[in-house]
Symmetry: C2
Subunit: 133 residues, 2 copies
DNA sequence: GCTTGACTTCAAGTTAACTTGAACTTGTAT
DNA sequence: ATACAAGTTCAAGTTAACTTGAAGTCAAGC
């Protein structure tokens, strides 16, 4: 597929695709004249990148998950990332609950609501516990 | 408290505290000479900001949640954010499951594992569904 | 009362993740 | 065969969220 097809199918502008290629996150399989050609499996890779980005990983971190031949690497790294995600999921749940409570709460100032403050402080502690670098 | 105490208690450098104040995210209650004085409740606010940032909200978005007097605003906005979080939590769960599976999976190339691909594609769809701007 | 370390302002620098612009080349439709 | 929409490179610009540096101010301990 040419870059425009990939752009359309992935929803990413071609400038981003070139940028990703330069960063080594995706690969084009050849050229037709000066134009890049992509294998359609690049779409899966882009999906993973997009998902990862959305999950809060940086492009460099996503890059670490790939090896030369497109395989995700190092099971330990994968499990670490999964652990990170688990932590983040817990934080988000706390935050969500806090927001829902704040929306329902009668206190004029949310910072005066003991329940809200408790959620806040518990969340903070959880985040700091494993040694906040 | 002076800025150094807030810095220590919050774990944030004072440059960040000044930056947050300039952005209107926190307020100092006065000056002693030229030095800022903070009320200790700024720590709760910083905790919320930190939590929110970690949850993927921008400083501007966090700012929107505050009104002049420190009260979080607009219940609708709060509920919207909670909804967003719920979505994100689902994504992260998918990603986490995908990573755990990838770590356990036998396939040489994760992109050849149907289960992994299925997770990936489902995750992508979920993210696009409510009209991907 | 003087030194000094912690504060202050303001401007400029930094990193990530792209985007945009200029100048150029080329596949494709006519 | 030619026009041109779409591709290419490379450098520079952009935004968020800070950080750093220069230059000055001051509260506190000696």
């Amino acid at each position: 597929m040419d870059i425009a097809e990939v752009a359309k199918a992935s929803g990413l502008p071609s400038s981003t695709l070139r940028f990703y290629e330069e960063k080594g996150l995706i690969r084009s399989v050849g050229r037709k004249g000066m134009r890049r050609l992509f294998n359609s499996d690049v779409l899966d890779r882009l999906a993973l990148i997009s998902l990862g980005r959305h999950a809060g990983f940086s492009l460099d971190e996503m890059g670490e998950m790939f090896t030369a031949e497109g395989t995700a690497i190092n099971r330990t790294l994968l499990l670490e990332k999964a652990e990170e995600l688990d932590k983040k999921i817990k934080e988000l749940s706390t935050m969500r609950d806090g927001l829902r409570h704040a929306a329902a709460c009668q206190a004029a100032n949310h910072f005066e609501c003991p329940k809200f403050l408790r959620l806040l402080r518990v969340a903070g502690k959880n985040r700091l516990r494993p040694s906040d670098k």
